[in-house]
């Protein structure tokens, strides 16, 4: 099997499902959520992340680049992404870790090796492995194989997904997935498309079918003032999910901690139109879900 592009494998991850977990972040995502705090997982290719704060402008990256894609301009290093082939010559030469590669091509065995390293912690904490992204469902073959591997080792599995994929993919992985962390970002498709770039009819449909199959589902609803932190939206989400028999939800208030990564990637971040909902508002949203008989409503991950 071919390698897969992984943006990060986070050990001691404690907010992506129960217990102490290892979270595997696949690189590549069909959505472009305005508030995304992991922009380095968007593209299906390796990217250079540049941290100006670590950079001494020594120019080693400039001479290292075989494509002539790297230049120093206005006291900063600029990379021509069209010319850059992500060959990593510049990151190897950057002793200050100012230039780092986002995305590593890893083999199945390599990922398995890292997963297995923390089995002692999974078993003591009731933890396991979470597959996230980006969108891990974009890599069905690798994802299935990794899930099967985990199950063969009796490791708890969670899949953190936007649900934006064909039903076949979800249907195939469901038998090996102990828990779905399923994002719902808007009730109406038009709002969803405005905020994420894609409609959500497929997402709702998939959720419905998963629920029918009896999958263990934990909803995750990011709430962003200026986007979707609207009473009626939230109420409709709660109502529809409740009708499917879903009982667990994490309400995730917006934060802008991914902002610095946009700078590192040389991309724009629209921070003016978004903010964190007030505590009172979050409590109100929590109440809405509780009124719809959700038994496990948490604010935060």
């Amino acid at each position: 099997m071919e390698n897969v592009l992984i943006s990060n494998i986070q050990r001691f991850s404690t907010k992506d499902g129960p217990g102490i977990r290892t979270t595997v972040f696949f690189k590549g995502c069909p959505l472009r959520c305005k508030w995304c705090h992991n922009p380095e997982t968007h593209l299906l290719s390796e990217e250079i992340m540049y941290n100006r704060e670590n950079c001494t402008l020594c120019g080693r990256c400039v001479t290292a680049c075989p494509e002539g894609a790297v230049k120093i301009e206005n006291n900063t290093v600029v990379t021509d992404t069209k010319k850059c082939t992500s060959c990593q010559k510049c990151t190897e030469e950057c002793f200050y870790n100012a230039r780092e590669i986002s995305g590593k091509s890893l083999s199945f065995d390599h990922v398995c090796d890292i997963i297995e390293r923390d089995t002692a912690f999974y078993s003591e904490s009731g933890g396991g492995v979470t597959f996230s992204g980006g969108e891990c469902l974009m890599f069905p073959e690798m994802l299935t194989k990794l899930l099967k591997f985990c199950k063969s080792r009796r490791i708890h599995t969670a899949v953190d997904t936007s649900g934006f994929s064909t039903w076949e993919v979800l249907e195939n992985i469901a038998p090996f997935t102990d828990l779905f962390l399923y994002d719902i970002k808007a009730y109406s498709s038009s709002l969803h498309e405005k905020l994420t770039g894609v409609p959500n009819s497929l997402i709702w449909e998939n959720l419905e079918r998963l629920a029918q199959k009896g999958a263990d589902i934990n909803l995750r609803v990011p709430l962003i003032e200026g986007c979707n932190a609207i009473d009626e939206e939230v109420a409709k989400i709660a109502e529809r999910c409740a009708s499917m028999g879903i009982k667990k939800v994490n309400l995730l208030p917006y934060h802008d901690m991914g902002k610095y990564k946009y700078t590192k990637l040389g991309r724009e971040y629209d921070s003016n139109s978004m903010s964190t909902p007030s505590d009172e508002k979050m409590q109100k949203f929590k109440k809405i879900f509780e009124d719809y008989k959700f038994t496990d409503v948490k604010i935060g991950g």
């Binding site: 050990r11 907010k15 390293r117 904490s125 934060h255 610095y260 935060g300």
Partner: protein, 789 residues
């Protein structure tokens, strides 16, 4: 103010607000006693008579409101000196009075007595003087170079703890045991019968000494009671008088008396010599539980009273600063702390879960008292209930480092591995910092720290020490001539063996000096099998005898060797000669080499087998060369991996190291990774550390730092507990946690290079603080609670 009752609030406040002072009384009484008896009696008897004289003459103190009595000096926070071990010069006294850290106030009167009375007698007689007279020049050179330290240079072999025998017998009972043993001496067939008799007689005199001390307190309390106008306090004093009439002469009958019994023994042991302080009741919950159960059943004791008594007991420990240290000993152990280390929990001698009601009361007490002494820690066994572990985690999470966690199963296996019986092993304890031993049955002493990274420095200098400007090592060749990593490692090993042999040769001399001149008849009474063997604790009388040499800097040495192996031999990033030049220049002007070794080299603490394999190799080389070697007392050498504050001193005597550690900066501490080397989170650190075979040691020390947010809430608490359980399942010996507050985060932002391994909670994951932008750091400083996933 902290304290469960008004009484303990006041006592605690008094304890923490009083500044440490030197107490000259003991030195004067010892001098007079020696002048009276020296030459006319055998040395053990001389020691016992001097001890007795101190117990009969020392100033009595009953602090306002206290329920457990007895101070080591003439008042609380007053530390006696031990001129027979280390005779302070007037200059020493001036330094300890003036120094900024760990100071002791010294009066003009003290200095006068020291100059006129103490110095003239002890100057040439002290153990410290004898050691400096007897050890070889090469030992002295290595000592001056900071290759190793010497624990017994101004403190006696200590470190052990009391077993349960003192809760079952009084000193009148011990006297009877001693008499019975004397009656069985065989003057016909045993050539040592004379020496044995002297030792046993000495023990009897020491019994009389402590009994007299108790009686004096009883009478003193009675006298105070007569003049006391407050009826409540009058009752307290009468109770104290009654308790001190019972103990230490007779076995304790009540919970309160059990505490007072231990305390008298503690004063006795730590006054007889300065057993470098770590004497402890150890498994206190095991020892007290029978008293607690009986009295609760009878209705004479309730939770409130137990709490109050326990807090009074805690404060007694805090009233005793460790006797003043000077010179290198101060550097290796720069603290007032006495290292009295309690192990709560664990298992019972018959192998059952040891957590009992007293265990929980101890946790409540340490939580309320928040005192550095006694160092209150827990033993976690696979049988320990989660409720106990979680309560301990809850306190640990508050961030001041207590309790630390010890692995009961590891302690037991370490002790069994050292040849102890299963029952004795189950009653084992980690004392001092993390050192394993059998309470009440073992003389196990740390003998000195060993500077492992310095061995590499000497190797890279062909045996020459830059710090002292002397050739202290072997000529193993110029580093540029090593054709492979194996050749380098071979030279490193030769140097290490060379220095360890020098250390052990010195130990043999010092062990003999103590055996000959510094018997401890009082401690020998309560240490099983000293009476039966009719042999002093310092001559091999205890059931088990172990000497430890503590390895320091495993993180620094691992990363340094990894740096050479990876950069010089594998990747050929630079040559050995270039590296040596860079080290010599403290990496100034060698940016490329510096950043390669810092940022692009495999390091210990990341679950990276390249580095961890080197760690294992160094550890095994060190461990195997020492473990099992005989000591003079008929015991064995073993190793520990802990530093106290010595990693800072060992750093000061070394130049830059090949891992990018700058000159004079501290070495890595315990078995923790080099500061900033670990970048894969706590589970990776634990995995790396557990590749070391802890069970071959007598204790290892691992520090972990967290921000409060990582451990917040019910989930955070459970994850902390799970980390501990997992580490212990992997045979880790000990782990402790620092939970970092906001002020530290601000410091971390100002000096990121010093906080490279600080982990913070970012969003749905944890990250290294240094990896975040300033803006994000600001955000986290102001809002440590994260909620977005």
């Amino acid at each position: 103010m902290r304290g469960y009752t008004e009484r303990t609030k006041k006592l605690r406040e008094m304890s923490v607000s009083t500044n440490p002072a030197l107490s000259i009384e003991r030195a004067v009484i010892m001098t007079e006693a020696y002048q009276k008896y020296e030459g006319s009696v055998d040395i053990p008897v001389l020691r016992a008579l001097a001890f007795k004289e101190y117990m009969e003459r020392k100033t009595l103190v009953i602090n306002e409101g206290e329920l457990i009595v007895g101070e080591k000096g003439h008042d609380l926070q007053c530390a006696p000196s031990f001129p027979e071990l280390c005779c302070h010069t007037i200059e020493d006294m001036e330094v300890m009075d003036k120094r900024e850290l760990i100071s002791f106030s010294v009066t003009e009167e003290d200095k006068k007595l020291q100059a006129e009375k103490v110095i003239p007698y002890w100057e040439k007689r002290s153990i410290r003087h004898k050691i400096m007279q007897s050890t070889s020049q090469e030992w002295k050179d290595c000592y001056a170079a900071g290759m190793f330290t010497e624990f017994m240079e101004q403190r006696g072999p200590g470190h052990t703890g009391a077993g349960n025998i003192i809760y079952k017998k009084g000193f009148s009972d011990f006297k009877r045991d001693i008499d019975a043993r004397i009656a069985r001496l065989d003057f016909v067939g045993d050539e040592n019968a004379y020496d044995k008799k002297a030792e046993l007689e000495a023990m009897k005199i020491a019994c009389d000494g402590i009994i007299a001390f108790g009686r004096r307190y009883s009478e003193y309390a009675l006298k105070l009671a007569e003049n006391e106008t407050d009826p409540q306090r009058k009752q307290d004093l009468l109770l104290i008088a009654e308790n001190c009439k019972q103990v230490p002469e007779f076995a304790p009958k009540t919970f309160h008396q059990a505490l007072q019994m231990y305390w008298f023994v503690h004063i006795g042991v730590t006054s007889e010599v300065n057993p470098w302080d770590a004497f402890t009741p150890g498994r206190l919950d095991q020892h007290l539980n029978p008293f607690y159960q009986k009295e609760v059943r009878e209705g004479t004791l309730d939770y409130d009273r137990v709490r109050e008594l326990m807090e009074c007991f805690w404060i007694k420990f805090n009233n005793q600063p460790a006797p003043p240290k000077v010179g290198i000993t101060l550097k290796e152990s720069g603290t007032y702390t006495d290292f009295c280390n309690l192990n709560t929990g664990g298992i019972t001698e018959d192998g059952k879960d040891g957590v009992n009601p007293v265990s929980y009361i101890i946790l409540d007490t340490m939580d309320e008292m928040k005192l550095l002494q006694p160092s209150s820690n827990v033993q976690i066994s696979k049988k320990t209930p989660d409720a106990f572990l979680l309560r301990a985690c809850e306190i640990s999470r508050k961030g001041w480092g207590q309790p630390a966690f010890y692995n009961t199963e590891a302690i037991i296996q370490e002790l069994l591995n050292a040849g102890k019986s299963i029952e004795d092993a189950r009653h084992g304890c980690s004392t001092g910092c993390v050192e394993t031993g059998c309470l009440g049955k073992e003389n196990y002493a740390l003998t000195g720290y060993f500077n492992i990274p310095k061995v590499l420095e000497i190797t890279l200098n062909n045996g020459f020490d830059n710090y002292t400007g002397k050739q202290i090592g072997l000529k193993t060749g110029n580093p540029e001539d090593f054709g492979s990593f194996e050749e380098l490692y071979d030279a490193f090993l030769k140097q290490m063996h060379h220095f360890l042999d020098i250390k052990i040769a010195g130990n043999n001399i010092i062990e003999k000096i103590y055996a000959k001149y510094m018997p401890v008849p009082f401690l020998s009474i309560i240490m099983e099998d000293c009476i039966e063997k009719a042999q002093d604790y310092n001559c091999g009388g205890a059931r088990y005898n172990t000497y430890y040499i503590q390895g320091v800097g495993i993180g620094t040495i691992t990363d340094s060797l990894s740096s050479i192996s990876y950069n010089v031999f594998d990747k050929k990033n630079f040559t050995m000669a270039e590296l040596c030049e860079a080290i010599k220049a403290d990496f100034v002007g060698y940016d490329r080499i510096y950043n390669l070794v810092c940022n692009k080299t495999p390091k210990y603490g990341n679950d990276d087998d390249y580095a961890d394999t080197i760690m294992k190799r160094v550890f095994n080389s060190y461990c195997d060369y020492i473990t099992g070697r005989p000591t003079i007392k008929g015991g064995q050498y073993r190793i520990d991996m802990l530093p106290t504050t010595c990693h800072v001193y060992f750093g000061e005597v070394c130049g830059a190291t090949p891992n990018g550690r700058r000159a004079q900066k501290p070495m890595s501490e315990g078995i923790s990774p080099e500061k900033g080397a670990d970048t894969n989170g706590p589970t990776a650190v634990i995995k790396s550390c557990s590749k070391m075979d802890h069970l071959k040691t007598g204790g290892t020390l691992l520090n972990q730092k967290f921000t409060p947010a990582v451990l917040q809430g019910e989930d955070g608490l459970k994850n902390l507990a799970a980390l501990i359980r997992a580490y212990f399942a992997l045979d880790g010996h000990h782990i402790q946690f620092n939970v970092i507050d906001r002020a530290t985060l601000i410091e971390a932002q100002k000096h990121p290079e010093e906080y490279k391994d600080l982990i913070v909670r970012v969003a749905g994951y944890s990250d290294h603080f240094r990896n975040l932008s300033k803006a994000l750091q600001d955000e986290i400083i102001n809002r440590t609670e994260q909620s977005f996933s």
